[in-house]
C-alpha cells in the first residue's frame, strides 16, 4: 500500500504529502500553521467557518485547507493578501453578530489578522436567550459560531445519539434539539461530548456557569432540585 507521495509547494517550501491528506495536514507536517476555528482533530471536517482558506494557484476561489486534499504540483499560499483579507473579514463578521468573549483562540486570531471588532457596528446580533433546561449544562447560543462540532459528536463522530441539529435557515440558523424540546426529553444522554468540543463557551457545565455568575461552591451545592433542573417548559426559547 505504498502510494507515491504527492509533491507540492506551500509558501515557497517544497512539501511531500501522502495522497488524500488535506492541505491543512500537509502544511502542519511542513511546520506551517494554518488557522482553524470550526475544525477539530477528532471531528469530521466540514469547511464551515472558512478561516482556514488558502490561495491555490489556478483556482478561482480560495480553498478551505481543512477539507481540500493535496494534488501533485499544487502551489499554495497560506498568507497572501487575499487570504489575509478574507480571514480578517470573516473574523469581523463573526464579531458583528456573535459574543466571542469566551473564545480566546478567536480573539488571538483577531489580533494576528488585525480584525476590527467594530467594523460593522450596526449589524444585527444573534442574541437568543440562554437555555437552562437541565441540571448538567447550559446552552448560550449567543456565543455560538455554528461550527457544527456539537452536532457531529452527538452523531457519528462519537456518541450516535442524534439529539442535536440545526434549526432555522440563513441568519436564523441555530443549533437546537428537534422541535426545541427541553434537553432531557430528547435522546440526549448527557455525555457532554458537545460541551467538550465547544470552542466558544456556548455550551458549559452548569456548575462552571453558576460559579461564573458569582455563586459560591456552598451556594451551588445548596440549590434545590428544581433550581438545578432549570426551566422545564419551553418558554423563552426562540424558534
Amino acid at each position: 500500500m505504498n502510494h507515491p507521495l504527492v509533491s507540492l509547494t506551500i509558501d515557497g517550501i517544497a512539501v511531500q504529502a501522502a495522497p488524500g491528506s488535506t492541505i491543512l495536514k500537509a502544511a502542519q507536517q511542513a511546520g506551517i500553521e494554518i488557522p482553524t476555528i470550526c475544525y477539530h482533530d477528532h471531528c469530521t471536517a466540514n469547511g464551515l467557518c472558512r478561516i482556514c482558506v488558502v490561495e491555490v494557484s489556478g483556482a478561482r476561489t480560495l480553498v478551505p485547507a481543512c477539507v481540500a486534499t493535496v494534488q501533485d504540483g499544487m502551489i499554495i499560499h497560506t498568507q497572501s493578501e487575499r487570504v489575509r483579507r478574507s480571514r480578517r473579514t470573516i473574523l469581523e463578521m463573526l464579531y458583528s453578530s456573535v459574543d466571542l468573549s469566551e473564545a480566546p483562540e478567536i480573539e488571538t486570531l483577531a489580533l494576528v489578522y488585525g480584525a476590527d471588532s467594530q467594523r460593522f457596528p450596526g449589524a444585527q446580533r444573534r442574541e437568543p436567550p440562554l437555555i437552562d433546561d437541565n441540571p448538567m449544562y447550559i446552552r448560550d447560543y449567543a456565543k455560538c459560531i455554528l461550527c457544527w462540532r456539537c452536532v457531529q459528536v452527538c452523531a457519528e463522530d462519537a456518541q450516535y445519539t442524534y439529539a442535536l441539529n440545526f434549526s432555522g435557515r440563513g441568519f436564523e440558523t441555530q443549533i437546537s434539539t428537534f422541535y426545541h424540546h427541553p434537553m432531557p426529553e430528547t435522546t440526549c444522554v448527557f455525555c457532554g461530548q458537545c460541551v467538550g468540543v465547544c470552542p466558544t463557551g456556548a455550551l458549559k457545565p452548569k456548575r462552571e456557569w453558576l460559579l461564573e455568575k458569582g455563586y459560591t461552591p456552598e451556594a451551588i451545592m445548596g440549590l434545590t432540585r428544581n433550581e438545578r433542573r432549570g426551566k422545564k417548559r419551553r418558554e423563552g426559547l426562540s424558534h
Partner: protein
C-alpha cells in the same frame, strides 16, 4: 469566564472502562471535567457520570468527621441510624482506639472465624491490598471479599477452570478490529458507555457484524446484524446449540482444537443433545437465528465475545460462562488481536481489587490460600511466623453475612460497600446485619449499611487521595489527588495503616507486618514484589508511560494488550461438557414474570455516590420496565404505580412501559432504597462461584395506588432509550 487554578489528570471513579479525566479546580471546587482527546482509553469522550457526576464530593450530607453511635448497639437489636442526631462526633484517635479495642476483643474471644471484611472495588489497589493484608496478617482469616462476588465471580471461576486466567483477554478498543462480535448479558450503552461508542463505531465505520443475545431489547440491538431475544437463564442451551451447529457443519478450527485445547471429545459428545430445535424450545429463540449466529461467528476471520453480568449472575453462572468459553476454544477466536473472551468488568477497580487479593480464596495475584508455598511466600512478605497465615479458604461476600451469628462471624468491617442494597434477598441481609456484634463502616456517606454501624470512619474520595485503579482491560492507571480531603476525612490507606498499628500493638505480635508507608507508591511496590503480574508496575513508569496493562513481568516489560497468543496460563484450553439447568425459580401462574435487575446510565450500584449527585435529578426514582403487551394485559399505563411481588417481598414503584424489555421479563434497577430491587431477588447461589442469581427471580405485577409509592420525587420526563 473563569480560569482553573489547577487541572489534574486522573481516572474516572465509576465504571470499569477507566476513562481519563482532567478535573478543573478553583477554590477547592471541582467545577468541570474534561478529557484529553489523546487518551488511548476514551479519546476525549466521557459519559454523564464521568463528565458531570463528581459533585457527590461536596454533597451537604457527606460525613467528614469520625462518628460513634450514641446508643450502644447489641447483637439482635442493632438499628439503622441515618440521622446525625443518633451519632456523636469523636476524634480520629478515639475512633481508631475504639475500633481496635473492639475488634481485638472479639478476635481474642472468638477467634479468626469471627472476623470478616468487605473490601471495595471503588477503592484503589493500594487500599485493597492493605485491608486484606490487615485481616490476613493480623486476624489470620481469609474472610475477605468484595463485590466481585456479586458481579463476575462465575466468569472468573469459569475462565480459571478453562484457561487459567480471569480477566478480559483483549483490549476494549480492539473491538474495531472484530469482524464479528457477540454481545450477551451486557448493556454497554448504559453500563460501559465508552466501550459502547467503540462498538457502535465498529459496526458503523469498520464493518463489524454484531450478534446480540439478551433478554432485553437493549440499544445495541439497533446496531446488530442478529438479535437473539433469549429467555433469562437459557444461555447454556443457546450457546451450546451454536457449538452444536459449528460441530455438525464442520466449521470449527481443527488446528486450534488439536494444538491448544483438551477434552474435546467429551465436550463434543455433550453438545449432541443441544440441537437448535431443543434450544429453541427452552430459550424461545428461533432455531434459524441460532444457526445463523453460529455460522457468522465461526466463519469470521476475527471474532470476539463480550459479556457482562447477565452471564455470571445466575445459579448456573459458571456453566453460562463456560458455554461462551467453549465457543471461543472451538473456533480459535482467542489469542489474537481482535478476538477474545471479554468479560466487561463493572467497577472502576474490580479488576484491581481482585488482583490485590480482596478475595477469600486468593492472596494478591490469584495465589490460592490453600497452597502451602503461597502461604509461606506471604508469611515471609509480612514477617509472620511459619504457619501463621490461615490455609483455609475464607467466606465469600454472601457467606459472610449468612454466617453471622453465635459461633460465626461476629465483627464486620465494611470499606465503601453497601450490602444493604447490593445483596440479594435484603430482608435476610437486614436480619443478619442486626445480629452483628460489631460493625465498622468506612465511607463517604451513611448509606443503608453504614447506618447499622457502631463506628463511622469518614474516608476521602477518589479525588482526595493518591493511588492506582486497574480497569477492565487490565490497565493500571494513576489516581491523583485533586483537592485536600474534605473536613477530617482521610485516605483509606492511611486509616488502615493507623488502625492496623493499633491492632498489632494490642495483639502483642513480636514482629510487625509493616504499616509505615509514606506514600501509596510504596504499597504498590510491596505488592509488586510478590505478585509477578505487577512486578513491572511502578509509579514512576505510570507517570512516564501512562497506563500499563498487566501482566507486566518486569521493569522493562511493555505490558500485555492481549493475552494467550502462544499458550494459556493452564497450558491447554479445556473444553467443558455442559448440561442445561433451569433457573432456581421458574415463572408459574402465581409469579408469571422473570425479574432482571441491573443498572441505569445515570446511577451507580447501591446509590451511595450517585444518589448524592445531581445525576439523581436526571433519574430521580425507581422505575420498572415492562413490555407494552404485558402492560396492556394488566391495564398498566406508562407512569402508573405498580406493585411488584416476589416470594420474598413486595415493592411499589412506577412502571415504564417500553419495548426495551421483552414480553415476560421486567427490569428494575437496584439503585433505589425507596423500592429496593434486591428485596425481591433470591439468595440462591451458583455452587462453585457463590454468586447470587440476580437476573432471574420470578415476580407478579399488579396495579397499585400512587400514594403507596415510596418516593415523592417529581418524575423527570426523559427521551433517551
Amino acid at each position: 469566564m473563569i480560569q482553573p487554578e489547577r487541572v489534574v489528570s486522573t481516572v474516572c471513579p465509576f465504571c470499569g472502562v477507566g476513562c481519563n479525566l482532567e478535573l478543573h479546580v478553583r477554590d477547592g471546587f471541582i467545577y468541570k471535567a474534561t478529557s484529553s482527546f489523546n487518551s488511548v482509553v476514551n479519546h476525549g469522550n466521557l459519559c454523564v457520570k464521568g463528565r458531570f457526576g463528581h459533585d457527590f464530593i461536596y454533597h451537604p450530607q457527606r460525613v467528614t468527621v469520625p462518628l460513634i453511635r450514641k446508643k450502644p448497639q447489641r447483637p439482635g437489636d442493632r438499628t439503622q441510624a441515618f440521622d446525625l442526631s443518633e451519632w456523636r462526633e469523636i476524634s480520629w484517635d478515639e475512633a481508631l482506639d475504639y475500633v481496635a479495642d473492639r475488634l481485638v476483643d472479639i478476635y481474642q474471644r472468638e477467634g479468626p472465624h469471627a472476623m470478616a471484611v468487605y473490601c471495595c472495588a471503588k477503592a484503589t489497589n493500594e487500599d485493597n491490598y492493605l485491608l486484606q493484608k490487615m485481616y490476613r496478617a493480623l486476624f489470620r482469616t481469609n474472610n475477605v471479599d468484595h463485590c466481585t462476588r456479586l458481579c463476575h465471580a462465575a466468569s472468573v471461576v469459569a475462565l480459571q477452570m478453562a484457561i487459567g486466567s480471569a480477566a478480559m483477554s483483549n483490549t476494549a478498543a480492539e473491538v474495531i478490529e472484530n469482524d464479528v462480535f457477540i454481545l450477551t448479558g451486557s448493556n454497554p450503552t448504559e453500563n460501559h458507555p465508552i466501550i459502547a461508542l467503540q462498538m457502535k463505531a465498529a459496526v458503523r465505520k469498520h464493518g463489524a457484524k454484531l450478534i446480540v443475545v439478551d433478554p432485553r431489547r437493549i440499544e445495541m440491538v439497533d446496531y446488530a446484524t442478529l438479535y437473539l431475544p433469549i429467555k433469562p437463564g437459557t444461555d447454556v442451551p443457546v450457546f451450546s446449540a451454536m457449538a452444536h451447529v459449528i460441530l455438525k457443519e464442520g466449521l470449527y478450527n481443527r488446528q486450534f482444537v488439536e494444538e491448544r485445547t483438551e477434552n474435546f471429545e467429551a465436550f463434543a459428545t455433550s453438545m449432541e443433545k443441544f440441537t437448535p430445535e431443543y434450544a429453541e424450545s427452552i430459550s424461545g429463540v428461533d432455531r434459524n437465528l441460532i444457526i445463523q449466529a453460529a455460522r457468522l461467528y465461526a466463519t469470521a476471520k476475527n471474532a470476539a465475545i463480550y459479556w457482562a453480568l447477565g452471564i455470571p449472575e445466575s445459579s448456573h453462572g459458571v456453566a453460562n460462562a463456560l458455554s461462551l468459553i467453549n465457543l471461543a476454544l472451538l473456533t480459535g477466536h482467542i489469542g489474537r488481536r481482535g478476538t477474545g473472551l471479554n468479560p466487561l468488568r463493572g467497577q472502576n477497580n474490580v479488576q484491581g481489587a481482585s488482583d490485590a487479593g480482596a478475595m477469600p480464596w486468593h492472596y494478591p495475584g490469584y495465589q490460592r490460600v490453600d497452597i502451602e508455598e503461597n502461604a509461606r511466600r506471604w508469611e515471609q512478605a509480612w514477617n509472620i511466623e511459619p504457619g501463621g497465615l490461615s490455609r483455609q479458604l475464607g467466606l465469600t461476600t454472601t457467606e459472610i453475612l449468612s454466617s453471622v451469628g453465635p459461633g460465626g462471624v461476629r465483627a464486620l468491617y465494611i470499606m465503601g460497600e453497601n450490602p444493604m442494597m447490593s445483596e440479594p434477598n435484603l430482608n435476610h441481609t437486614r436480619q443478619k446485619m442486626q445480629e452483628l456484634e460489631f460493625l465498622v463502616a468506612q465511607d463517604l456517606f451513611i448509606n443503608e449499611s453504614g447506618a447499622f454501624a457502631d463506628v463511622f470512619l469518614p474516608a476521602a474520595s477518589w479525588a482526595e487521595k493518591e493511588g492506582t485503579f486497574t480497569n477492565t482491560d487490565r490497565r493500571v492507571q494513576r489516581v491523583r489527588q485533586v483537592i485536600p480531603p474534605r473536613g477530617q476525612s482521610r485516605p483509606d490507606w492511611e486509616i488502615i495503616c493507623d488502625l492496623a498499628k493499633r491492632i498489632e500493638k494490642r495483639l502483642g505480635r513480636p514482629t510487625t507486618a509493616y504499616w509505615d508507608y509514606r506514600h501509596p507508591s510504596e504499597i504498590l511496590e510491596e505488592m509488586g514484589r510478590y505478585v509477578p503480574e505487577y512486578a513491572g508496575v511502578t509509579y514512576e513508569r505510570l507517570e512516564r508511560e501512562g497506563g500499563l496493562q498487566t501482566p507486566v513481568w518486569d521493569k522493562q516489560h511493555p505490558g500485555t494488550p492481549f493475552l494467550f497468543a502462544e499458550t494459556f496460563p493452564r497450558g491447554r484450553g479445556k473444553f467443558h461438557p455442559l448440561d442445561y439447568t433451569p433457573n432456581a425459580e421458574m415463572p408459574d401462574d402465581d409469579y408469571p414474570f422473570v425479574l432482571s435487575t441491573g443498572r441505569v446510565l445515570e446511577h451507580w450500584h447501591g446509590g451511595t455516590l450517585t444518589r448524592h449527585s445531581w445525576l439523581d435529578d436526571l433519574f430521580p426514582e425507581p422505575l420498572v420496565d415492562i413490555h407494552p403487551d404485558d402492560a396492556a394485559r394488566l391495564g398498566i399505563q406508562n407512569g402508573d404505580a405498580v406493585r411488584v411481588t416476589s416470594r420474598r417481598a413486595s415493592i411499589v414503584l412506577r412502571a415504564r412501559v417500553t419495548p426495551k424489555t421483552n414480553p415476560g421479563v421486567v427490569f428494575i434497577p437496584f439503585h433505589f432504597h425507596e423500592a429496593a430491587a434486591n428485596l425481591l431477588t433470591h439468595d440462591i447461589i451458583d455452587p462453585q462461584a457463590k454468586i447470587p442469581e440476580y437476573k432471574a427471580a420470578v415476580v407478579r405485577v399488579s396495579k397499585a395506588r400512587p400514594e403507596e409509592l415510596g418516593t415523592r420525587a417529581e418524575p423527570q420526563p426523559r427521551g433517551r432509550y
